[in-house]
Symmetry: C2
Subunit: 200 residues, 2 copies
Amino acid sequence: MHIAILTFQGFNELDSLIALGVLNRVKEPGWRVTLCCPEPQVTSMNGVTVHAQSTLEEAASADAVLVGSGIRTRDIVATPGLLSRIRLDPAKQLVGAQCSGTLILARLGLVSDIPACTDLTTKPWVVEAGVQVLNQAFYARGNLATAGGCLAASYLAAWVIARTEGMDAAAAALHYVAPVGEKDDFVANALRHIAPCLPA
Amino acid sequence: MHIAILTFQGFNELDSLIALGVLNRVKEPGWRVTLCCPEPQVTSMNGVTVHAQSTLEEAASADAVLVGSGIRTRDIVATPGLLSRIRLDPAKQLVGAQCSGTLILARLGLVSDIPACTDLTTKPWVVEAGVQVLNQAFYARGNLATAGGCLAASYLAAWVIARTEGMDAAAAALHYVAPVGEKDDFVANALRHIAPCLPA
């Protein structure tokens, strides 16, 4: 199970790394979570440089792909040479997007017939791309999920875990990262977002 | 205003980078937030390599220092050559710790006479170091704050903002990162942790 978290120049640290941290709570053999970048190193919107753990091309064969967010997403979708390197297939993969990552899914034509979540800044651009934007933190239909607001990255990661390892595993991962003294409430709230979006 | 986030080999991505992301919502001139590391690069508990933005020695002159968490904290506190490079002075600096970072404050003797928060895994070691551990996400007294559970890193960061830029700035930073549709509830809950711990 390889989960690639697409992480571009100018990335939002919260969006990529909360998902990565939550997903890495699963300790199953073969479970692999990578920062998946267009270059060997990328630098965040706040100057944090990280090393890629997989290439954009490897995302095509990943079992799940989460598209991260950042301050350069509009440049990315306006760069055909970059956009064409992102090959996603929700028929074969779980595909999720966080905040402005939803704009990438929109430009790839993946959310043209389902509503989506994104952050408040990105919302007008996603609407402009013809997508219905929901005023909520998380939504999924089938193999496609979107989340809005940085800290909703934990819901997106938990959805991947729920879809592959089950709800108990998702709850355990969320419980671990939740604030002390608020763990049960946090898990219950997150699962309220995810549960209605799982296949019957 | 320099805020150094101490980030060691084996660091927990959530603890250092949630704080960094929230703190960077402040856009004041001279506001500077750095990953502060013992080496030019450090690799997280899940294999993510990041570049240091300041040295451990620079933390001594920072206006605020947050001690991150990770899987090697017990090694760090058992390494005098490393521990001696961490020079913190709560008389002159805001000092906070996240999860196992509290163990570092404990070994530096900074939380011997106030209770502290930490994560459930680290709790027995902090207790063993003679510190009273609270079953809550956040606590601060004076210039010293501690938080427990990865996602409580947003409370710790908001406390630094509240102490330096005021409650409105803290609320604005939290609002930005909160999940869409849950922003007001999230901010209110976070401020309930922080407000009672601010100086009169």
